[in-house]
């Protein structure tokens, strides 16, 4: 292994698909697989309390043929429980190892996520500072969503969402992705296609 840079507050391969509930219920495990225009990733995290989660992520970036393995933590900084809505602020951070061209370097990330939702309206914003062995890069995304029908506890809940992603260093800095989110009990599935024709898939399961 070769470390070419020391690890400081960095940034990494964290897909910007806003994760529904970065922290689970106490004692809960969460597994996720994702694919978007640039990356494939697998993530597992455990929530000792409803306040924070610890996890592992493996991610392959197709744009530069790099693979990242990282340990991370999500922290629920603040939650507002209102009669008809809920708001959340999360902080995230992690460190890992990046494999590129048979070299391994240190890397990491930190980020912020906020969301507010009712039973039929969803809004979120997140940003991430990434470091992959060179200059840090910044990316952010926002989502708005609407559930056309009110569903009961044991029904599949459909959501229509639009994600706007902004990556200043990218050749296409702004990407729009309409997507369909389906939620049923402890399973969430997201399917979308960006305005650049890239498919997005996100599957999450809580245990």
């Amino acid at each position: 292994m070769k470390y070419t840079h020391s690890i400081y507050a960095l940034a990494l391969l964290l897909p910007l698909a806003a994760e529904a509930r970065p922290v689970s219920y106490p004692g809960g495990w969460t597994g996720m697989v994702s694919r978007d225009a640039d990356r494939d990733d697998l993530e597992v995290h455990y929530s000792p309390t409803a306040r924070y989660a610890l996890g592992y992520r493996a991610e392959y970036d197709r744009t530069d043929n790099t693979t990242m393995h990282s340990l991370f933590s999500n922290y629920l900084l603040k939650r507002w429980n209102n009669p008809e809505s809920q708001g959340n602020i999360y902080l995230r951070g992690g460190v890992g190892l990046l494999d590129r061209d048979e070299n391994t370097t240190g890397a990491g990330f930190y980020g912020f996520q906020a969301d507010w939702e009712t039973r039929q309206i969803f809004t979120s914003y997140e940003n991430t500072v990434r470091y992959k062995g060179d200059d840090p890069s910044f990316a952010q995304a926002a989502r708005v969503g609407f559930s056309p029908i009110l569903t009961g506890y044991d029904e599949v809940a459909p959501w229509l969402m639009l994600e706007v992603k902004h990556e200043p260093e990218s050749t296409d800095p702004v990407t729009l992705t309409p997507l369909l989110r389906l939620m049923y009990h402890t399973t969430m599935l997201e399917l979308g296609a960006s305005d650049q024709g890239d498919v997005m898939l996100h599957l999450m399961k809580r245990f």
Partner: protein, 97 residues
Amino acid sequence: MKTQFKTLVITAAVIFMPAASFAATMKADISGLVCAFCAQSLEKVFMKQPEVEEIKVDLDSKLVTIIFKEGQVISTERANALITDAGYAAQNFRIEE
């Protein structure tokens, strides 16, 4: 205070009248209950408690109903702590036989 008195009466009944077994229920209004995916945390947390038989969540009324096993019950303080630990806020606890 009223709810605590009710809890005491039901608990005393459980202890001193074994022949008259019954399944108590506890209801509470929940804040922040906006989706079933999220509310699964309530089910997971309460179903780990040995006293709990079943839990029902009503997203329309924001009401959670905890059905206890016969002859068993938990205090409202403990129920409130469990709901808080699950990430929600609760009010207006009431126990029904």
